[in-house]
Amino acid sequence: MIQAILVFNNHGKPRLVRFYQRFPEEIQQQIVRETFHLVLKRDDNICNFLEGGSLIGGSDYKLIYRHYATLYFVFCVDSSESELGILDLIQVFVETLDKCFENVCELDLIFHMDKVHYILQEVVMGGMVLETNMNEIVAQIEAQNRLEKSELLAWGL
């Protein structure tokens, strides 16, 4: 199970916070901060796995992260997930974002936070991996976007 998905920039500003386990808002922020400090300390050329975030779960949990330009993508998972599998999943997620936003950058995440969530919802649902096939994900997102457009037209917006 995936416990949380966090995206934040090089300064620790949250860009996407998705918990699959209930934490009060202030704890969520604390977790984001702690995770940011853990990840920031690490060189880019050392491994992408990290243990010992004290706030989420215990020893069964790991942080698996990837660093892209200005953004960190961090997944907090338990031992039922494969480390390399999750690394691959982060890549799928980022590539999907890239396709949907055409050259995704940090600003896209700020201005279309809801859309980013919708895309994530097609990849991970309730902490479980829903779909890993990028074409399938993009197809579903596009279908939903079309539906939205037609609805808005009918609404007269």
Binding site: L50, E51, E83, D114, L130
Partner: protein, 1116 residues
């Protein structure tokens, strides 16, 4: 307006003022009718939530947006809900119907968005109500919906474990779904389930085996391999079968190998070679170490050969890798390499930057050394010196860990005590530990252990006087309170020891000097802010002053003083207390003494029971009576020990044996010479030990070789074949000193079970369900119908048909498992013996729901009447399900049932619990209860409200839901039954509009409801009857066929009595009213009749009670 839907995110950089302005704006927008504006506002809220602002206040608005008809808005609502809703959100149950509607929507995206949202905020209630809807979606035509429905089932199982068995066949079906996405989802769910309870899923192995060879989806493969990783330990044959397909996979993608390894496959040693080739890549290195730790559990030998490689990893700059390597080391130590590994770790401790890693190292060193009862330690002096070295770490959080180890080793390894004491006294003397005393849990914690060891084993001290002075330094008062407390206590032990030495040596002056030192220094502790320290210090100061007086008269005191601390402490296993089996016939829940109401006697009683005679004596006795004085102090010390948490832990105090004080010849007489320089504490000495140990081992080996040669010669002579190999194995290394690890004490015939290791709150335990059994009718998922909420909301009605003996059928909140078991029992009973009148489901429901029916109708009216007689086993006749809730009133909107209980705490008060159940399809709001008070009975109302105001019901009722409200009534006279009139008014709101409705009811306070079940012992009961101030009355009821056992149970249940004694068909019963009236009953069963004689301190109450009882009995 066209841009309305686009979010304009507020920027947190603008500060808190900007945010609060934003929230105000959002609040305005939420008030508008335009759904687009509302949705936009909710979207902004979601953004704020991400920035850490609580948006729970907008939960209702979110639900509004969720129920929008357009997908665009609905999606926004569900997103906000999935981010902010949780089990504690109270409006969440309002979403049930909306979600159900969306789930059955014709648009697959509406359904999809509802499923996604639900997966994030599903609660047990939602899971129960929607499980069936989701089940149907698992066979939806669109794969998009199917895969989501399959995936969400896992969440449903977690929240509502009963759904697992009914849903499992369909889940299994989905493993072979034509769509790869659905297949992958099903594999995903089953893997999560199997991870926790693998044994239930072994039967699926062939299916997964097929999938593994056919699937091309890497994700599915990874999951399946993980699953097999969990299954193979249970079924070893699987492992062999898997080798072939796995090697095929190796050729296809090399990465999968590593993943398979890290999932814990039992693999051949060749795979470790693969790992070492790929070393340079850091990610792979990490995974390699992870995999090795899994292999280590099954094949320790094959990993141990890579020890050097792993030690190298400790130098890696990546902390993750270092921690992994540390983990591995834990499993790799043996007697042979322990010292070497720990030495290496110690150098890392010195080098380590950052406290987290250093602390991790420290705990690992201790873990490694103490694992499986110090199995690998051959030289405890070495271990103690390692511990002492560790105390030099500044700023660690694990001081208490080191302290615990020191104590454990010193107590359990007798041979090491002398050495330990010398090290500890050095620690006490060193200043650096005192300096760090500001930090909680810091390194100063070891002083706790040091002080205790030096005190308890003071006979081993070289220079006790010096240690005593060290412990009495003024700086000690800066230590945390609990450490000071131990200091104070152990100072006395030391003092006792010194005193004895001095007296034996005939140095009366020396002894007096020590006493003077104590008298001088102890006051600093008496002033402590810590209560424990203060109390102990002042107590001891008085004792010492008294000793001083005696010394002045040249009375020898040492014997008596050291007698205070005679006796040996035995370590007790931490679980020992729990494992003491309950002796037969002991009921821990039964009252030992009947609880007494008047405060005076309560004060007196325990003292008489628990205290020794000494307490009654006048406190101040003339001080000449030394022996008695000391005896009293010993007693006091015993009490103090009992209060001292440390003593409780380590001594089975009641059985503590008092030994004779050690004889004169055992005590070394040491000249105290303060000018002699002390040992420099804390020098790294462990290295010396390593060398010494090596030498020792070498010598040992030589000796052994010699012996072996001799033996060989002998063998040659005897012409026997010898088989022993001349290699040095673990077993050959004999421990350095006669190590006697005292095993922790366990109670006799302790149960060896390890059940208590499991966490009863583990959510996954509920999912440990046998899936191969066929489904029973009772396990069907609840399908939406009216009143479905009731069956689970009021557990009283869930009571199984077969009730055991006189136990009251009033068990609240059963564990799922128990329920399951009960169901099984029910089934079996029904199948085996047709003793229980077989009823159709409908009937049973009727029975459980309309309780009053079965109460008012004579039981014999149904087919049940003849049955027990036919069976000829009236004793076994089961009691029908009982509920203490009786119907109050009902109409088409609402049904009210109530239960009246007396409260023990407050005189003359009863609690009325009213269960309100919504039977309509509209929401019931604004419910208010107004009751007309009588002179005798008044309702407790919130302050400030008048007698005519209604009291609001603290909840709303959505359709089909029931809930319980409790009200307190004050009753003045309880000798008469009485009725109160009342009205429930409420607003019923549905799609068409809202209407005001009313429901009248009559609350009936029977005399029985003023009684509270109070147990009573037969001797107390006899006394009560003998006392003669009870009035008497009796009734007789004819035509009773019910068994006596059930009859008594009925009286107990309906009239709150408890059985005092039962002899054949005669029983005495007792109960007490809330105002303290005693009620005694003698129930006798004749041929077809029952007579009840009652005695009570109030005759009116008794006659009313007997009337009520007569009515109950008449129904039997």
């Amino acid at each position: 307006q066209a841009r309305g839907i686009q979010t304009h995110p507020p920027k947190p950089e603008h500060g808190a003022k900007y945010i609060s302005q934003c929230i105000d704006e959002i609040k305005q927008e939420l008030k508008q009718d335009n759904i687009a504006v509302k949705a936009n506002a909710v979207c902004k809220l979601t953004y704020l939530q991400m920035l850490g602002y609580d948006i729970s206040w907008a939960a209702f608005n979110i639900i509004e947006v969720m129920s929008a008809s357009k997908f665009t808005f609905k999606r926004v609502g569900y997103l906000a809900a999935s981010q902010s809703f949780h089990e504690g959100t109270d409006v969440i149950m309002l979403t049930t119907n909306q979600i159900r509607k969306d789930l059955s929507s014709p648009s697959q995206y509406d359904t999809g968005v509802a499923l996604t949202g639900l997966s994030c905020f599903v609660t047990p209630d939602l899971a129960r109500d929607l499980a069936n809807d989701i089940m149907t979606l698992m066979s939806h035509t669109k794969p998009y919906i199917r895969k989501k429905a399959v995936l969400i089932m896992y969440k449903v199982f977690l929240k509502y474990p009963e759904s697992l068995r009914p849903a499992f066949p369909r889940l299994k079906e989905k493993l072979e779904d034509p769509d790869p996405g659905v297949q992958s989802a099903a594999v995903n769910v089953i893997c999560e389930l199997a991870r926790r309870n693998p044994k239930n899923y072994l039967s699926l192995a062939p299916l997964f085996f097929k999938l593994m060879t056919s699937s091309t989806n890497n994700w599915v493969l990874i999951k399946i391999i993980k699953l097999f990783g969990a299954l193979t330990p249970l079924e070893p044959r699987l492992g062999k079968k898997l080798i072939e397909p796995l090697t095929n996979l190796i050729h296809r993608l090399s990465v999968a190998v590593l993943i398979s390894l890290s999932s814990g496959m039992p693999n051949h040693s060749a795979s470790i070679q693969v790992l070492t080739w790929l070393w340079p890549l850091s990610a792979v290195k990490y995974l390699g170490l992870l995999a090795m730790s899994k292999i280590l559990k099954t094949h320790p030998k094959s990993v141990q050969s890579h020890k050097d490689l792993i030690l190298q990893c400790l130098d890696d700059k990546d902390e993750s890798i270092r921690l992994r390597a540390l983990d591995l080391l834990y499993g790799m130590v043996s007697k042979k390499n322990l010292m070497e590994i720990v030495k290496k770790l110690m150098t890392h401790v010195d080098k380590a930057e950052g406290t987290t890693y250093r602390d991790e190292l420290l705990t690992k060193i201790i873990d490694i050394c103490s694992q499986s009862n110090y199995q690998y330690i051959t030289n405890f002096e070495w271990y103690i010196s390692i511990l002492v070295e560790l105390t030099r770490l500044e700023g660690t959080r694990h001081g208490h860990l080191i302290a615990a180890q020191m104590l454990d080793v010193a107590i359990r390894v007798k041979a090491i005590r002398k050495f330990a004491v010398s090290q500890m006294s050095a620690l006490l003397d060193s200043a650096h530990l005192l300096a760090s005393s500001t930090q909680r849990n810091g390194i100063c914690e070891v002083l706790y252990a040091a002080a205790w060891i030096c005190g308890e084993f003071s006979e081993h001290l070289q220079e006790p006087h010096h240690t005593l002075e060290a412990m009495l330094r003024p700086k000690v008062t800066t230590l945390p309170g609990h450490i000071q407390a131990v200091y104070v206590q152990n100072v006395v032990k030391l003092y006792a020891n010194i005193l004895q030495q001095k007296e034996q040596a005939g140095e009366a002056e020396g002894a007096q000097a020590v006493t003077q030192l104590m008298v001088d220094r102890l006051p600093q502790f008496v002033q402590s802010a810590d209560l424990e320290v203060q109390e102990r210090a002042s107590c001891i100061l008085q004792l010492v002053k008294h000793i001083q007086k005696l010394q002045a008269k040249d009375v020898p005191v040492a014997e008596e003083v050291s007698a205070l601390f005679a006796g040996e402490l035995n370590p007790v296993a931490p679980k020992a207390q729990k494992k003491v089996p309950v002796p037969e016939g002991l009921d821990l829940d039964a009252w030992i003494n009947e609880p007494l109401s008047d405060s005076e006697s309560e004060d007196e009683r325990p003292r008489a029971v628990f205290h020794e005679e000494e307490q009654r004596r006048p406190k101040h006795r003339p001080s000449e009576a030394d022996e008695e004085e000391l005896a009293r102090r010993r007693e006091a010390r015993k009490q103090e020990q009992a209060n001292n948490p440390f003593y409780i832990k380590s001594s089975p105090s009641p059985q503590k044996r008092y030994q004779d004080t050690p004889g004169v010849e055992h005590i070394p007489v040491v000249q105290i010479d303060l000018s002699v320089p002390l040992k420099v504490p804390g020098l790294p000495m462990s290295d010396q030990y390593v060398k010494l140990e090596e030498e020792r081992r070498h010598r040992q080996k030589l000796e052994k070789d010699k012996r072996r040669k001799k033996r060989k010669e002998k063998e040659k002579k005897g012409k026997r074949r010898h088989s022993s190999l001349p290699t040095e194995s673990d077993e050959d290394i004999a421990p350095a000193q006669q190590v006697d690890i005292v095993t922790e004490e366990m109670p006799e015939n302790a149960l060896p079970s390890d059940e208590d290791d499991k966490d009863p709150n583990d959510p996954y335990r509920a999912l440990d369900i046998d899936l191969d059994k066929p489904l029973a009718d009772s396990e069907k998922l609840p399908i939406q119908k009216h009143r479905n909420a009731e069956t689970s909301k009021s557990p009283e009605k869930d009571v199984p048909v077969v009730e055991k003996k006189s136990k009251k059928p009033k068990k609240k909140e059963k564990k799922h498992k128990e329920k399951e078991r009960d169901k099984e029992k029910k089934k079996q009973k029904e199948k085996k013996v047709k003793l229980v009148p077989r009823k159709h489901k409908k009937e049973k429901e009727e029975r459980t729901k309309g309780k009053k029916k079965s109460k008012k109708q004579p039981l014999g009216s149904e087919e049940a009447a003849g049955e027990p007689v036919q069976n000829g086993a009236p004793e076994e006749e089961p009691l029908p399900p009982e509920s203490s809730y009786s119907l109050l009133a009902e109409n088409s909107y609402v049904k009210m049932t109530c239960d009246i209980r007396g409260s023990l705490q407050e005189d003359s008060q009863v609690t009325v619990a009213i269960v309100l159940e919504n039977r309509s399809s509209s929401i019931l709001k604004g419910m208010e209860l107004s009751v007309l008070d009588s002179l005798n009975a008044r309702m407790a109302r919130p302050q400030g409200s008048s007698v005519h105001d209604g009291v609001p019901v603290p909840f709303q009722l959505p359709p089909g839901v029931s809930n319980e409200a409790q009200y307190v009534f004050t009753i003045q006279s309880i000798v008469m039954a009485q009725k109160l009139k009342g009205t429930l008014s409420f607003i019923a709101k549905n799609d068409e509009g809202a209407t005001h409705e009313k429901l009248d009811f009559r609350l009936h306070f029977s005399c029985s409801s003023y009684l509270t079940t109070t147990p009573c012992y037969s001797d107390a009961f006899a006394k009560l009857l003998e006392s003669g101030d009870l009035s008497m009355s009796s009734v007789k009821v004819d035509g009773i066929r019910m068994s006596f056992q059930n009859l008594l149970a009925k009286i107990c249940f309906h009239h709150h009595f408890s059985v005092v004694e039962r002899v054949d068909s005669c029983a005495s019963m007792y109960s007490r009213s809330i105002q303290g009236h005693h009620v005694c009953l003698l129930v006798k069963k004749g041929e077809n009749s029952v007579s009840v004689d009652g005695k009570c301190s109030d005759s009116t109450l008794l006659s009313n009670l007997l009337e009520e009882m007569k009515a109950t009995l008449a129904k039997c």
